[in-house]
């Protein structure tokens, strides 16, 4: 499959990328690992006139897990996240997602920033980054602005990233009791249903919970009902934890496709929420 023709430029700094974006506006797309964009271009679902390759911008692919909050450069590849022992300790939900995403070749190429900016409704990071209550830093020609993950992910393939902005980093507080569990689509490895959970635990009971679900609706969402119901539940009370996860996707318009119906996705949201809570609590 051959994509439509385009012009290609490499940007070697954030400023250069922003300048090129300013010149070419909505006709241009940023290219990092390309593992979200290139498949869409090959299907001609996307046909940008200009690609600005930002993969070579230095210092945007660092994991700073020693700082608080932890900071991840937008160009960090999934494989680097998946191999980070520090991340496994401090934010295992993100480590889970990076290890479970796509396959080795995809993880060697795709980036956390690219996958997030793509806004795929079945992607893993939108759930994980909402459960971690992550902050996104967006660079624009008038400086930078920060957005919470819940504000960043807006809809199907829609984010708050402006046409002239570049996502530079993602930061979040450590969440050692967190987990991400998903039901893979067997061919694409995207999430049919994926649930990310971050807990704090006090005296053997859940003190607070953030639960976010991807794959079910048009955009990943926080399951506020489950979060409230989990408060105070003992972590060794398996039935209690599962009961709190009932109706995880209630009120959400679930999607249907050839692989999973809306009602199946809705039912699996409860099941995978319970598994993710159990896994996070056990950490």
């Amino acid at each position: 499959m051959i994509p439509a023709a385009f012009e290609y430029k490499r940007a070697n700094s954030v400023d250069e990328a922003l300048r090129l974006l300013g010149e070419h506006g909505e006709d241009a797309k940023l290219l990092a690992g390309g593992h979200s964009l290139i498949p869409m271009m090959k299907l001609r679902l996307a046909a940008p006139a200009m690609l600005i390759d930002i993969a070579g911008i230095p210092n945007l692919d660092q994991i700073d897990a020693a700082s608080d909050p932890l900071t991840i450069g937008a160009l960090t590849k999934h494989a680097k996240l998946a191999a980070s022992d520090e991340l496994q300790k401090k934010a295992p939900a993100l480590w889970d997602a990076a290890n479970d995403l796509g396959d080795p070749q995809v993880r060697n190429r795709g980036t956390i920033g690219g996958a997030s900016a793509h806004g795929d409704p079945s992607a893993d990071y939108p759930a994980v980054l909402q459960a971690l209550d992550a902050t996104f830093t967006l660079a624009g020609k008038n400086g930078t602005r920060e957005l919470k993950a819940a504000e960043f992910f807006r809809g199907m393939f829609e984010t708050a990233l402006g046409a002239n902005e570049l996502l530079t980093k993602i930061s979040f507080a450590a969440a050692p009791k967190s987990a991400y569990v998903k039901f893979h689509h067997p061919a694409s490895h995207y999430a049919v249903v994926g649930v990310a959970v971050a807990l704090t635990i006090d005296g053997g009971a859940i003190e607070s919970a953030r639960v976010a679900i991807t794959g079910v609706g048009d955009v990943a969402f926080r399951a506020a009902g489950v979060e409230a119901a989990l408060k105070g539940v003992k972590t060794n009370d398996a039935d209690g934890l599962a009961a709190a996860c009932a109706g995880a996707a209630s009120g959400v318009q679930a999607r249907s496709d050839t692989f999973a119906s809306a009602s199946y996705r809705t039912a699996m949201a409860d099941v995978f929420a319970a598994r993710a809570v159990a896994q996070a609590a056990a950490r």
Partner: protein, 191 residues
């Protein structure tokens, strides 16, 4: 546009359209047809090559993105005169049937052993998750990778199978039919 890259240790200079995929550049411009295109949707892994030493699906990389980088295809992993341990293991452990997925499978397996020289069967399976095979059922592929890992660890990756089974007919004077491609001992067995 003009790009320079290193392919299997040799400098290559290509004039490409930005939309040319790396898989097509390798096959059509450089005649390295060992890189196969299977699904063309970044699922099957037949097009796997090493880019700066790590496995990637060359159907999902533009050639221009690889400018200035080092590409290793199956032709750079080993050749008929000097097979890589992984190629020998796929041969001797029957890790292929039709062979279409094999080149990508071998490149991925080489990358896997670089990261993990002694993988368990589960680690081999998850390490080759990005490569699909529709013939073998994977059992012999896992066996092949296990055998190659052992040979590479033991330093015994140059076993005699290569000498017993010449792959190439001689360059001049093609042999009478039946010789050369089919190893002698098999011809005798079939006679």
């Amino acid at each position: 546009m003009q790009i320079d890259l290193t392919v299997n240790g040799k400098r290559a200079s290509l004039d490409v359209e930005p939309r040319l995929l790396l898989a097509h550049a390798l096959r059509d411009s450089l005649n390295l047809t060992g890189t196969h295109i299977g699904c063309d949707t970044s699922s099957c892994g037949a097009c796997t090559v090493l880019l700066d030493g790590v496995s990637v699906k060359s159907c999902t990389v533009f050639a221009v993105q690889a400018a200035g980088q080092e590409v290793t295809t199956i032709e750079g992993i080993g050749n008929a005169d000097s097979l890589h341990a992984m190629q020998e293991a796929f041969w001797s452990s029957h890790g292929l049937q039709c062979g279409y997925c094999t080149t990508g499978m071998i490149v991925s397996a080489v990358d896997l052993l670089r990261r993990n020289p002694d993988p368990s069967d589960d680690e081999i399976r998850s390490g080759l998750e990005g490569n699909l095979c529709r013939c073998t059922g994977y059992e012999n592929i896992v066996k092949s990778v296990r055998a190659a890992a052992k040979a590479m660890r033991d330093g015994t990756d140059r076993h005699s199978v290569r000498e017993l089974m010449p792959l190439h007919p001689p360059a001049v004077d093609p042999p009478p039919s039946g010789e050369g491609i089919i190893p002698k001992q098999f011809q005798e067995a079939n006679a």
